[in-house]
C-alpha cells in the first residue's frame, strides 16, 4: 500500500513518459534501418540486388534503365545494401510513411 501511494505521488510530480506526437517526434538513433533508397546516377543496373532480395521487392531492368522498389513488399533487411557492388543503395533513418 505504501509502495502504491509512493508510486502515485512520484508519477504525479514526474513528467509524462509519452512524447507529444506529432508535435514532438522521437529521435531515431544513428544506424537505424529505415527507408531504402537509391542514388540512381551511380547504379549500373547489374541486378545483384534483385537477385538477392529475400522478399522479391526489387525490379531492375537494363533496357530501359530502371530500378523499382515495392515498398509494400520490402522487409528492410538491408541485404541489397550489402551486395550492391557500387554501394549506391542507402537506408534512411526514417521509415516509410503510410502513403508510400
Amino acid at each position: 500500500m505504501v509502495n502504491l501511494i509512493n508510486s502515485i505521488f512520484r508519477k504525479l510530480t514526474s513528467p509524462s513518459e509519452c512524447l507529444r506526437y506529432p508535435f514532438v517526434k522521437r529521435e531515431l538513433p544513428e544506424g537505424t534501418r529505415g527507408r531504402i533508397d537509391i542514388e540512381i546516377d551511380k547504379c549500373i543496373f547489374c541486378g545483384a540486388c534483385e537477385k538477392r532480395c529475400p522478399a522479391n521487392a526489387l525490379k531492375v531492368t537494363r533496357d530501359p534503365k530502371s530500378w523499382t522498389l515495392n515498398p509494400y513488399s520490402c522487409i528492410i533487411c538491408g541485404y541489397c545494401i550489402e551486395v550492391c557492388p557500387k554501394k549506391c543503395i542507402i537506408a534512411h533513418k526514417e521509415h516509410y510513411s503510410p502513403n508510400v
Binding site: 508510486s7 538513433p29 537505424t32 534501418r33 538477392r52 529475400p54 522487409i75 528492410i76 550489402e82
Partner: protein
C-alpha cells in the same frame, strides 16, 4: 446428471496475444477436457525456405517469430555453420549472447505484462512494458531495429558493439535493474496476485517430463533443463546459473521468469566485460553439403529445434522447425483439465504461448 457444455476459448480472446482455439468441455464451472485447434496463422514457411537461397533463409527464419526473432536467426545460422563446418570468431559469439539475452529480457517482460493484464492489473502491465521499452531502445541503438534485429549472419554478426555503446548498454541495464524490484514485488508478493497464481495450473515434475514440457514451464516444475548449460555460443564462459522452481504452478512459472530477468542482466554484463577484441565475422563460401543437422537453442519459451538438411546446392532439401510452444501445448491441456473456467486465461498466458511460431 450434470449437463456438459463446450465453450470455445479463442481464437479471438482479450487475453490471447495470438490466435489459438481451445474447446473447453465444461461441467458447471469445471473443465473436464480441453482440445486445441490450431492453424489460424499457418504460413507455409518451411516450404518457402526450401525455395529460397540458404542465405535468404536467415531473414526468413528471423521472421518465424515477432518476439524472439534474433534467436531464430541465431539458431539457423548455428545450424548452417555446423553443417558447413564454419568456425565463427569469439567476439561474434559474445555479441550473439548479448542480443539473445536482451531478447529474453524483453520477451519475459512482455509476457509478465500480459499476465498482469490477464488478471486485471493494468497498471502493472503498463509499467512492465515501460521498462521493456528501454530494452528495445538498447536493441535499436546497437542494431538499428527494435525487434527484428537483422544482425545475425552465417559466419558471425553484422554489427559490432563499440565501447561507447557498451557503456550505454550498461547504463540502461542498471536503470532497468533499479526499476525491477518494485514491479516484481507487486507481481510476486501482492495478496490478490498470489490468490490468482498460487496452486493454479499445477504441473508435477513427472508429468512435465512425460508430456515433454520445455523452458520455464519445465523448470518451474523442477526439471533441470536449460540448453544454455550446454555452453553453446559463448554461454560456456559466462558462469550461467539455471533458475529452477518447485511447485510447478502459475506462481512458480512467473517466479522463474522474474529470476531469469536478473540472470539475463548478469549474462549481458559479463559478456560485455569479457568480450574479446577481434573480427566479428568470417566469409562463408560454397553451399551447405548433402548432410543434415539438428540445431538447438534456448529461447525465452524453451528449447527451439531446427532440422536442416542440405543437398549441395544453394537451396535446402528440408527445413523443419519445432518451437517450444508446440512442445508446451500438451502440458497446457493437462493443466487446464480440472481447473475452473476463470483460471483459463492465467494458465494459458503462463506457458507464454507463441502461436505464429508454432504454426510457422
Amino acid at each position: 446428471m450434470i449437463r456438459r457444455n463446450t465453450i470455445p476459448f479463442g481464437p479471438q480472446h482479450p487475453v490471447l496475444p495470438e490466435p489459438i482455439q481451445l474447446h473447453l468441455v465444461m461441467e458447471n464451472e469445471k473443465i473436464i477436457q480441453a482440445l486445441p485447434a490450431v492453424g489460424y496463422v499457418h504460413r507455409g514457411l518451411e516450404k518457402i525456405a526450401e525455395k529460397k537461397d540458404f542465405i535468404q533463409d536467415v531473414y526468413l527464419a528471423e521472421r518465424i517469430c515477432g518476439i524472439c526473432s534474433f534467436m531464430h536467426s541465431q539458431n539457423y545460422c548455428q545450424g548452417i555453420e555446423e553443417l558447413m563446418k564454419v568456425q565463427i570468431p569469439d567476439r561474434a559469439k559474445y555479441l550473439r549472447v548479448i542480443w539473445a539475452e536482451t531478447h529474453r529480457i524483453h520477451s519475459h517482460l512482455l509476457i509478465l505484462g500480459l499476465l498482469a493484464d490477464a488478471f486485471g492489473f493494468e497498471n502493472l502491465f503498463m509499467r512492465l512494458w515501460k521498462v521493456r521499452e528501454q530494452i528495445l531502445n538498447i536493441m535499436e541503438k546497437t542494431t538499428g531495429a527494435r525487434v527484428i534485429l537483422g544482425v545475425c549472419a552465417i559466419g558471425g554478426v553484422k554489427r559490432d558493439i563499440t565501447p561507447e555503446l557498451g557503456e550505454y548498454v550498461l547504463r540502461e541495464l542498471d536503470s532497468v535493474e533499479k526499476q525491477l524490484p518494485e514491479l516484481m514485488d507487486s507481481l510476486l508478493k501482492d495478496y490478490s496476485v498470489k490468490q490468482r497464481l498460487v496452486g493454479v495450473g499445477v504441473l508435477p515434475k513427472d508429468k512435465a517430463h512425460e508430456l515433454g514440457a520445455v523452458g520455464p514451464v519445465a523448470r518451474a516444475s523442477g526439471l533441470r533443463m536449460d540448453l544454455r548449460e550446454t555452453g553453446y555460443a559463448a554461454y560456456g564462459d559466462l558462469d550461467f546459473k539455471m533458475v529452477v522452481g518447485e511447485a510447478g504452478d502459475c506462481y512458480d512459472r512467473t517466479m522463474v521468469r522474474v529470476k531469469e530477468l536478473y540472470t539475463s542482466l548478469d549474462l549481458i554484463r559479463t559478456a560485455l566485460k569479457r568480450m574479446p577484441q577481434g573480427p566479428i565475422s568470417v566469409a562463408v563460401k560454397g553451399s551447405p553439403p548433402a548432410d543434415e543437422v539438428l540445431a538447438r537453442i534456448e529461447q525465452p519459451r524453451g528449447e527451439l529445434n531446427f532440422y536442416i538438411r542440405g543437398n549441395g546446392t544453394r537451396n535446402l532439401e528440408r527445413f523443419r522447425v519445432r518451437t517450444p510452444t508446440f512442445a508446451n501445448l500438451p502440458a497446457l491441456l493437462h493443466q487446464l483439465t480440472g481447473c475452473e473456467l476463470a483460471d483459463v486465461p492465467v494458465i494459458a498466458i503462463c506457458i507464454d504461448p507463441c502461436i505464429s511460431c508454432t504454426e510457422r
